[in-house]
C-alpha cells in the first residue's frame, strides 16, 4: 500500500512511549491523542466549536448507529460526515463490528457476515466486511476500521476461530475499499492469549496497513492482562504506523498504554460519566451531586484549565444537577473530555522533551 491518504510521523520516543503526528486529509493529529466519541454524529451536548476549544483533534463516530439512523446514504447525500456534523477536523469511524457482536441474543454470525436486529424497530440487517466498508465510505471519515469479530476475551478456541475469521474479513475489507482519501486500519484481536495476539499482529503487519488498532481489550480482562497484550502487540507492530487502542479510557489506562507505545485512544466515558454526574478529578472520579459540594466555591479541579473549571464552582454544578439543568452535564462533559485530552498533551510534551511525566495525582485530601 502506497500513497496512503494518512501518514504517521514519529517525532520522538521515550522508552516505549511515542510522540508523533498523524497527517490526514482534514488536518494533523498530534499524538498521543484522545478522541471524544460522537456516537450518533454528535459528541453529546457539545458543539464542534466547543470541541475545538477543548482541543480535540480527532472525533470518533459509530458506523452501527449512523447506519441505522439517519442512514449512511443520507449522510453521503448531505456531503458526508464532516459536513453533516460540521466537524472539519479528522474523523474516525469504527466498523460496527463491536456493536453488532455486543447484541448477543439479537445477532447471528456466519462466514460471510453478521445478521442482526435493529434496536430501533426490530428489523433485520446484515453487515459483511464489504458492507462495513461501503457504509464507511458513505460516511466519509478519514480513518475507517476493518470489520472484525470481537469475542469475549477468555476462551481460547473462540478467540482462535474469531482471529482467523477477522483476518479473512480484513482481506475482504482491503479488496472492497474504493475511496483513495480514506485510510483503512486493521484490528489486532486474540483475547488475552499472547500467542494469538502475536500471530494477529504479525499477520496485520505483513499487510502494510496505514495504521493498526488493538481491539478486544477493556472488555472485562484484568489490567495486567490488558497491559501484557499491549506489550506483545506493540513489540511487533511497525514503528512508523499509528497504534490505536480501541474503547479506552480512563486517566489510568491512558497513562499505562502510552508508556507501552499506544498513540490513539477513544472512549465514551467522559460524556457518559458526565451524564451520570461524575467528573474526573486527578486519578479518580467525584460525584458532583454530592452534598459536600453544596457551597463549595472551588472549580471541579483547581489545576484544570477547561472552560468549566475557569468559570464555574462545584456549588453551581451541583445546583445544575439538582435542578436537572442540561448545562450540568454539558459543563462536566467539557471538563472530562478536556482532562483526557490535556493528559495526552502533557505526555506528548514530556516525550518530545525526553523526560518522564509525573502521573497525577498524588493522594491528597480534597
Amino acid at each position: 500500500m502506497t500513497n496512503n491518504p494518512i501518514t504517521f510521523e514519529l517525532q520522538a520516543t521515550y522508552g516505549n512511549a511515542r510522540a508523533g503526528i498523524i497527517h490526514t486529509p482534514h488536518g494533523d493529529i498530534p499524538t498521543p491523542v484522545f478522541a471524544p466519541v460522537g456516537t450518533q454524529g454528535t459528541v453529546k451536548g457539545i458543539t464542534p466549536a466547543q470541541l475545538h476549544e477543548i482541543g480535540a483533534s480527532l472525533v470518533l463516530a459509530n458506523t452501527y448507529h449512523l447506519y441505522l439512523r439517519p442512514g449512511d446514504t443520507l449522510v453521503a447525500q448531505l456531503g458526508g460526515l464532516h459536513s453533516f456534523m460540521a466537524w472539519d477536523g479528522p474523523i474516525l469511524t469504527d466498523s460496527g463490528g463491536f456493536q453488532v457482536f455486543s447484541l448477543e441474543a439479537d445477532r447471528k454470525i456466519d462466514e460471510e457476515g453478521v445478521t442482526f436486529k435493529s434496536y430501533l424497530d426490530g428489523a433485520f440487517h446484515r453487515f459483511t466486511p464489504e458492507r462495513a466498508v461501503e457504509i464507511q465510505e458513505n460516511l466519509g471519515a478519514d480513518i475507517i476500521m476493518a470489520f472484525d469479530e470481537c469475542p469475549y476475551p477468555y476462551g481460547r478456541e473462540t478467540n482462535e476461530a474469531a482471529l482467523e475469521r477477522t483476518h479473512r474479513w480484513l482481506e475482504r475489507c482491503i479488496r472492497a475499499k474504493k475511496r483513495p482519501d480514506q485510510a483503512l486500519f486493521g484490528i489486532v484481536q486474540g483475547g488475552v492469549f499472547s500467542d494469538l495476539r502475536q500471530k494477529s499482529a504479525e499477520f496485520l503487519t505483513s499487510l502494510d496497513l496505514p495504521g493498526y488498532a488493538i481491539g478486544g481489550l477493556a472488555v472485562g480482562e484484568t489490567k495486567e492482562e490488558m497491559h501484557a497484550m499491549i506489550e506483545v502487540v506493540n513489540a511487533i507492530l511497525p514503528p512508523d504506523k499509528p497504534r490505536y487502542l480501541m474503547g479506552v479510557g480512563t486517566p489510568d489506562d491512558l497513562h499505562n498504554a502510552v508508556r507501552r507505545g499506544v498513540d490513539v485512544f477513544d472512549c465514551v466515558a467522559p460524556t457518559r460519566l458526565a451524564r451520570h454526574k461524575a467528573a474526573f478529578y486527578r486519578n479518580r472520579q467525584i460525584n458532583m451531586a454530592n452534598s459536600e459540594y453544596k457551597n463549595d466555591p472551588r472549580p471541579i479541579d483547581e489545576m484544570c484549565t477547561c472552560y468549566a473549571c475557569r468559570h464555574f464552582s462545584r456549588a453551581y454544578l451541583r445546583h445544575l444537577i439538582m435542578a436537572k439543568e442540561m448545562l450540568g452535564s454539558i459543563l462536566i462533559s467539557i471538563h472530562n473530555i478536556h482532562t483526557l485530552i490535556e493528559q495526552t498533551r502533557r505526555m506528548r510534551q514530556a516525550i518530545l522533551e525526553q523526560r518522564d511525566w509525573t502521573y497525577e495525582p498524588v493522594e491528597e485530601s480534597e
Copy 2:
C-alpha cells in the same frame, strides 16, 4: 431618586420607537433589547460564552426559582448571581410575584404578602415586598423588580384592588431597598382597562424610578388589547427611563411593541420552543422534526447568521431530534434566541438611522 446605578440614554426616536443605551454596573445594554431567560440561573443548555456569541447583553433570572433552589443566601455566599452563573454582563431578576400568583390553588394573598407552597417539597413559604427585595439583594442583579400582584387581565374590580395593593407594595419595596448598586423598576398593572393602566403609570411616574415595566400582558388578552395598553402606558411614562414589557415575546410582539415605545423584552419562548423542536422562521415557527426536512441541506433560515444556521442543515437538526440528542435543542435554542436579539438589533439600527424597518417575512413558499 438620584445617583441611580443604572441610567438610560435615549439616542434616537422614530415615531414612538426608541433607540437608547441602558448603562449598568455590569456594562451597557443597547436598546431595544431582547433578554434570554435563565430561570434557574442558566439559559437552558447554553453557556455564557455562547450567550456572548449570540449577542445577548442582558440575561433574566427568576427570583422564585432561585429562592427555592439553591437558595438566595447560597447564591450570595458564592458571590452573587453574576459570579454564580458566570455571566459578567447585566442581569435582571423578577420579583417572584408572577410565579407565586400563578400557583392559584397553592397560594394565599393578604395585605402583607403571599403565602405559597413550594413545588419542590410542598413546604410553605412567604413572600412580602420586603422579602422579595431582600432575596433580590442577595441574588445581586443589576435591575430588580418590585413585588406586584398580577390578576387575570379581565375583571375590573380585581384589577382595581390589585393595582392599589401593587402601589402600596411598591412603596414598601422602595423603603426596603438597601443596595446602592441595584436599580428597582416599578411595574404598571391594570389589566385591560385603560383608565387603570393610566392611573398606574401616573402613580409610578410620580415616584421617579430608574425604570418601568409593563406587567400583566401576554397573559390571555387579545393583541389589540395588548397594543392599546402599551400605548396608554407609554404616553405617560417619562421618556428618559427604560420601558420593559415583561414576558414578551415573539417576533410579531417585539415588532409591535417597539413601534409603541418599548425598550426591553424577555421571554422563555426561544428556549422552550426549541425543546419542543420549534424554530423561528421569519414570522412563524417550523417544526424541525417534520419529515420534509429529512434530507434538506438548507439551514433553518438561510438569512440567519447564527452559529446553528452557519454550520448545520435542517437534515442534521432533524436527525438530532429523532436520535434524542440534546445538541438538537441546544442548536435550535441558539437560533431562536439569536433571531429575537437580531430582530431588536435591526430595529435599533433603523431607529438610529431614522428610517422604518421592514418586518420580515414576506409570505413565501418555503
